[in-house]
C-alpha cells in the first residue's frame, strides 16, 4: 500500500485564510519538510504548514499521528527529550527556530505552552502567576501584573480572595486556567496548547474554549486536540494528521494529510482519509 503526502503550497494558504476582522494576514510559523525522530525512529515525517497570526490553529488526528510531537517543535520542547532529532525548517517570523545561534530558552519565553495535565507549581496562586515574570526579571508591579493576568484568563473573580492559597487546592479546570494565565503572564507571542481540556469535565472544557476565543485577538494559538468538536468550535484552521505505515514494514509514523480552513476540513475535505476520520469512519 502506498500513500503519498500531499504537497501543500503554504504561500497560497495565507491568501485564502485571512478573515474579515483582519486576523490571519501574517505568517508566524512557516514549517517546511519537518521530520522528527526519537533515537532514530521517525515519529513524524515531511510536514509543510504555515501558521497565521491571531488564528487558532487546531491539530487533530488519531493517537500516534505525531500531533503532540509536532506542537513541541514550535517551542523546542523536543530538545529536552534525549535522542530527539528535528530535521527540516521551522521559520518563526522568518527566522530559523533551529538556527545555530538560537537560544531555546529565549524561544520559550516568546512561545508559551499549556500541557495536557494541569501542572501548577505546588506554590500559591500568586506565586504561580509571578513565576515567569520573576525569572524573566519583570520585577516591577508584580501585584498589578498578577491581577491583570488573572483577569485576562477570566480567573480573577474566582481566586482574588485566596491568592496566597496553594494552587493545588483549585479544581482541575481552575488549575488549567491558572496554567494558561501563568503562560500569559510573560506576555508571549504564541500560546501552544497540548490537549488542554482532555483531563477536564465538559463545563471546564467550555470555559477553556471561551477563553481561547477571547485570547485569539491578541495571541496566536495552536491547539492539539483529539476532540473533533472542539477543533470545529475553536479553530480557524485545522490540520489533520494521520498514521502512515512504512513501505518497508519497519514501523509507522505520523504525516500531515490535510490542512485547511476548519469549515472546509469538516464539511468538504479533499482527502479521503480526512473524510473518513471526521465522519467517524476511521478504523
Amino acid at each position: 500500500m502506498s500513500m503519498t503526502t500531499p504537497r501543500i503550497d503554504s504561500g497560497k494558504l495565507g491568501e485564502l485564510a485571512a478573515t474579515p476582522d483582519g486576523r490571519g494576514a501574517e505568517t508566524v510559523f512557516a514549517v517546511s519538510d519537518l521530520t522528527v525522530s526519537y533515537s532514530g525512529n521517525v515519529a513524524l515525517k515531511g510536514v509543510d504548514l504555515a501558521i497565521q497570526k491571531n488564528f487558532v490553529t487546531a491539530f487533530i488526528g488519531p493517537s500516534g499521528c505525531g500531533k503532540s510531537t509536532f506542537i513541541r517543535c514550535f517551542n523546542r520542547m523536543n530538545d529536552l527529550v534525549p535522542g530527539a532529532r528535528v530535521d527540516g525548517e521551522v521559520l518563526y517570523h522568518g527566522r530559523d527556530l533551529y538556527g545555530a545561534n538560537v537560544d531555546p530558552v529565549e524561544v520559550r519565553r516568546r512561545i508559551g505552552m499549556v500541557f495536557q495535565k494541569p501542572n501548577p507549581f505546588p506554590k500559591s496562586i500568586y506565586d504561580n502567576i509571578a513565576f515567569g515574570p520573576r525569572i524573566l526579571g519583570m520585577k516591577q508591579d508584580i501585584d498589578e501584573r498578577v491581577e491583570r493576568t488573572l483577569k485576562h484568563a477570566a480567573l480573577w473573580d474566582e481566586v482574588k480572595d485566596r491568592l496566597k492559597e496553594n494552587a493545588l487546592g483549585l479544581s482541575g479546570g481552575q488549575q488549567q486556567r491558572l496554567c494558561i494565565a501563568r503562560a500569559l503572564a510573560v506576555e508571549p507571542d504564541v500560546i501552544l496548547m497540548d490537549e488542554p481540556a482532555s483531563a477536564l469535565d465538559p463545563i471546564s472544557t467550555s470555559r477553556i474554549e471561551d477563553l481561547i476565543h477571547e485570547l485569539k485577538n491578541e495571541y496566536t494559538i495552536v491547539i492539539v486536540t483529539h476532540n473533533m468538536q472542539q477543533a470545529a468550535r475553536v479553530a480557524d484552521k485545522t490540520a489533520f494528521f494521520s498514521v502512515e505505515l512504512r513501505e518497508d514494514g519497519s514501523g509507522r509514523h505520523g504525516i500531515l494529510v490535510e490542512y485547511d480552513q476548519t469549515t472546509k476540513v469538516f464539511t468538504n475535505p479533499t482527502d479521503k482519509r480526512t473524510e473518513d476520520y471526521v465522519t467517524g469512519r476511521f478504523g
Binding site: M77, R109, G112, F115, N119, F121, G132, I135, A183, V186
Partner: protein, 323 residues
C-alpha cells in the same frame, strides 16, 4: 411439616467454617515480629540506663556539662565528648549536604543514563566499605595527607580563624569530621537522588516552557519540591554521624580537653566508649562510659524521631493541599 430440599445451585452457607490456620499463623508471626522489635528497643534502653545508673546517681546531670575524664582522680564528665560528637557531625553535615545535593542533581538532571548508573552504584558502594577499613585508610593515608597538606593550606589562608590555629596533626577532630563526611555521603546522596527523580516531569517542563533555564527550573521547582525530604535525609545522615564509632576512634586521636582549633585530637561519645570500655579499670569508669552511651542513645533517638516528624508533617501538608 415441610422438608426443604437443598438447591444444588445455591452458594454454600456463609457461616464461619472454622479456623483458617494460615491467617492465624501469619497474624501471629507478624505481631511477634513487630512487638519484638519494639521490645528490643525498650529493653536495650532500659539496660543501658540501669547499667549506667550508679554513675548517673554519682554524678547527676552535671556529668553532661563537666569537662575532663581521669579515672585516677575519679573525674568523669561528658562535655568533651558531646562537643566532639557535635562538632565532627556538624562539619561532616556541612560538607556532605551540598555535596550530596550536587551528586544527586548531577545524576538525575545532568548525566546521561549510561554515565549516571555506574556513578550512582559507586557512590552507593562507598557505604559498603567497612568502617574499620575506612578508619585504617584514615590512619595510613588520609590523616598524613590532612596533616601535611590540607591543614597547612587552611592555616595559610584562614589562619586568622581560631579553628585553624595551632600545629597540624594526623589525628584530630578535622580528619574525623572528613572521614564522617565520606561515610554519610552515600546515605544522603542516595536519598536526595530518589527525591529529585520523583520531582514530577510536568513541573520541570512547566518551568522550562515559561522560559526558565535548567538551573532556574532546578532551583525554583525541583529543590523546593524536594526540600522537606532533603532535611529528613540530612537528619538521617546526622544520626549516622553521631553513632559512628570505629572509624572515628581510629582517626580522632584521643583527647580530654576542648580545643578551639580543629587540628588537635579529641574524642566523640562513640569513640570514647569504643576505645575505653574494654580497658576500663574500675566499676565507676565502666558505668560512666555507659552513661555516655545513654546520652548517645538519647541524642540518636531524638534525631531519628525528628527526621520522621519532618517527613510526616510534610506529607500531611501535601495531602491537605491536594485534597
Amino acid at each position: 411439616m415441610s422438608t426443604v430440599t437443598p438447591d444444588p445451585l445455591a452458594p454454600a452457607p456463609i457461616d464461619r467454617q472454622g479456623i483458617r490456620l494460615g491467617d492465624v499463623l501469619f497474624k501471629g508471626i507478624a505481631f511477634v515480629a513487630a512487638v519484638g522489635v519494639a521490645a528490643v528497643l525498650g529493653l536495650l534502653t532500659y539496660e543501658v540506663f540501669s547499667l549506667a545508673w550508679p554513675a548517673i546517681q554519682e554524678f547527676g546531670l552535671s556529668f553532661i556539662w563537666t569537662q575532663g575524664w581521669n579515672p585516677n582522680s575519679n573525674v568523669y564528665g561528658a562535655l568533651v565528648f558531646i562537643y566532639g560528637t557535635i562538632v565532627t557531625s556538624f562539619i561532616a553535615l556541612l560538607l556532605a549536604t551540598p555535596l550530596s545535593i550536587a551528586i544527586a542533581l548531577f545524576l538525575t538532571e545532568i548525566a546521561p543514563g549510561r554515565v549516571a548508573a555506574p556513578i550512582a552504584t559507586m557512590v552507593e558502594l562507598l557505604a559498603a566499605i567497612p568502617s574499620v577499613v575506612l578508619g585504617l585508610w584514615g590512619i595510613l593515608v588520609f590523616g598524613p595527607w590532612v596533616a601535611n597538606h590540607l591543614e597547612p593550606w587552611l592555616q595559610s589562608w584562614f589562619g586568622f580563624l581560631p579553628i585553624f590555629s595551632g600545629d597540624p596533626s594526623q589525628a584530630g577532630i578535622l580528619p574525623a569530621a572528613l572521614v564522617l563526611t565520606i561515610m554519610i555521603i552515600p546515605i544522603t546522596s542516595a536519598i536526595c537522588r530518589e527525591l529529585f527523580s520523583r520531582v514530577p516531569r510536568d513541573l520541570s517542563d512547566g518551568s522550562l516552557a515559561l522560559g526558565s533555564t535548567r538551573w532556574e527550573a532546578i532551583r525554583r521547582v525541583a529543590i523546593p519540591y524536594a526540600a522537606p525530604g532533603i532535611s529528613a535525609a540530612v537528619l538521617l545522615g546526622l544520626g549516622r554521624a553521631f553513632g559512628e564509632a570505629i572509624a572515628v576512634t581510629q582517626v580522632i586521636g584521643s583527647g580530654n580537653t576542648i580545643n578551639e582549633s580543629l587540628f588537635p585530637p579529641g574524642d566523640t561519645l562513640g569513640s570514647r566508649i569504643a576505645s575505653s570500655y574494654i580497658g576500663a579499670s574500675t566499676a565507676i569508669e565502666a558505668q560512666s562510659l555507659l552513661y555516655l552511651a545513654a546520652i548517645l542513645l538519647v541524642i540518636s533517638l531524638i534525631t531519628n524521631v525528628s527526621a520522621q516528624a519532618i517527613v510526616n508533617r510534610f506529607q500531611k501538608a501535601r495531602r491537605m493541599s491536594t485534597g
